[in-house]
Symmetry: C2
Subunit: 304 residues, 2 copies
């Protein structure tokens, strides 16, 4: 019998979803036990319980980002898998919702309405625009697909992979400035790793045209925050939407609260929905008991 410990705020919902599946040889426990080999939960709660789970073999994260478990002082003698492949659709909704808010002048129209002014000025469009995706995993691939649906050109910047066929042009390594040059929209979906630190710096922002919109739905570390404040304050780019930050919640005295044309969205872009995440666990559990390699395994060194 495999003992499974669920460690999440919505543990009851996960328990119900997993029990419904009648998985073989599985016993759900509610407290850490020495012979428990499987844990399923949020990275922070798993981290706190690592020492009470000496025989841990596999941890399935309910989130995509597993930073709390990547600390090099922590043990790495178990298989860590994360949630992947379920956020693409939600990220597309978020990113294109914000791009369309700007192009369709929704805020400007609300203001005109308040002033009882018939504002028939042209609105913009996505069609024909170029979007640059910093990171093209499963989320980036979904964004690329949505961009193509709307008639856009897609550039992708990755370490080396070129998996999505919806990306028109790939860039790697030192091509970052060339990748950014002339983009209408720059969207970051990068995970937090040592290679992504302040990747979006003044040089990258300077390569964007003044009408460009920057959206970060990856991790806050990827952005040089003071360079971004400067770029927006000087009108070097038109707008930014930040869902993630170096420090969350954003400190009360952070300049972002008052930076012009910057929208804060409070790390809401892609929530983990239990029904999606439970399905990932269930599929991986079937692989686990069949002694097959698990899906979405995290490389502790690489960080994703």
């Amino acid at each position: 019998m495999n003992k499974l410990l669920i460690l999440a705020e919505d543990a009851d919902e996960y328990r119900a979803l997993i029990q419904k599946e009648n998985l073989p040889d599985l016993e759900l426990i509610s407290q850490p036990e020495a012979d428990c080999e499987i844990v399923f939960g949020t990275p922070k709660l798993i981290q706190r319980n690592l020492s009470a789970l000496p025989n841990l073999k596999w941890a399935q994260s309910t989130w995509a980002g597993v930073e709390p478990l990547l600390d090099p002082t922590l043990r790495r003698d178990y298989i860590l898998t994360n949630a992947r492949g379920v956020f693409g659709g939600l990220m597309s909704e978020f990113v294109f919702g914000h791009l369309l808010y700007h192009e369709k002048k929704i805020g400007i129209h609300l203001q005109a309405q308040k002033e009882k002014r018939w504002d028939h000025a042209d609105i913009g469009m996505l069609r024909g625009k170029t979007i640059g995706l910093l990171g093209v995993g499963s989320i980036g691939a979904h964004l690329a697909q949505t961009a193509k649906h709307f008639g856009m050109t897609v550039r992708g910047y990755t370490k080396s992979s070129e998996t999505s066929a919806r990306v028109d042009n790939y860039y790697h390594g030192s091509d970052l400035i060339e990748f950014a040059r002339g983009l209408d929209y720059l969207v970051c979906v990068l995970p937090r790793t040592k290679d992504t630190n302040k990747l979006i710096n003044a040089d990258v922002l300077n390569a964007l045209p003044s009408h460009a919109i920057f959206i970060n739905v990856g991790r806050g570390n990827a952005v040089d925050e003071s360079a971004l404040v400067d770029s927006l304050a000087r009108g070097k780019i038109a707008a930014a939407v930040l869902d993630v930050f170096e420090q969350e919640p954003l400190p009360a005295d952070h300049p972002f609260w008052m930076t012009p044309n910057l929208q804060i969205t409070f790390h809401t872009s892609a929530l983990s929905y239990p029904e999606d995440i439970a399905k990932i666990f269930v599929e991986n559990y079937r692989l686990f008991i069949a002694d097959k390699p698990l899906a979405h395994r995290v490389d502790f060194e690489r960080g994703y």
Copy 2:
């Protein structure tokens, strides 16, 4: 030699686009002439020039809506074609931009940011929602395709046609209330005809759940405006976005300016872009000189 008169505000742009095509046997003229057989322009300007064009054989409208030419007291002894098939993508951008504005709580996040309040509350999503399309021509078909991309269920209400395979369930005739019942989003793309007058009345609005969003990008006559004001004021539906009105520009004393949860977008949802529309003319001209039936012919009686 066929004489072509262009009657549009942006006539110079159209002239340049058409001259570039080097169409055979075509002479562009700038004033009405008795032997001119082809006119290309906005419905209003064509209407004003009808009497000066006794030999008119074909009028190509730059717009989809051709109401000024449908007045039964006007002549109908020529072929009228309109602009079709080019608005779908723009309408998708507009409709889904507004739906996402609501689901992603963009306005609510802007307000939280003003108050320097970290608002991590859940946002909504399109995925799993049901959209109802009132009218499924080329625009409705594109909206259906976009809805499917985002994982939605699609209902379509039409007179009788069932052309788009992206629509999950079709409704016709007296099924309007059944069509509306329980919809998350109701989107009207109907043209102005005598059959569409006040189709969206109190009964239809009452069939929607209180979280429903209504968007009208068709024509203003399709909505019973006072029923809509009532529905919004009583919170019977959550929001409405109106791009079109019985009277445009909207009169200064119209209650819509002050109706809660109603957004006015000033008939901007799908502009006619000269490069798109010129292409329609060029393709139809080739059919015209080959004596073949023209595309997008308007039935004066039906109205579209």
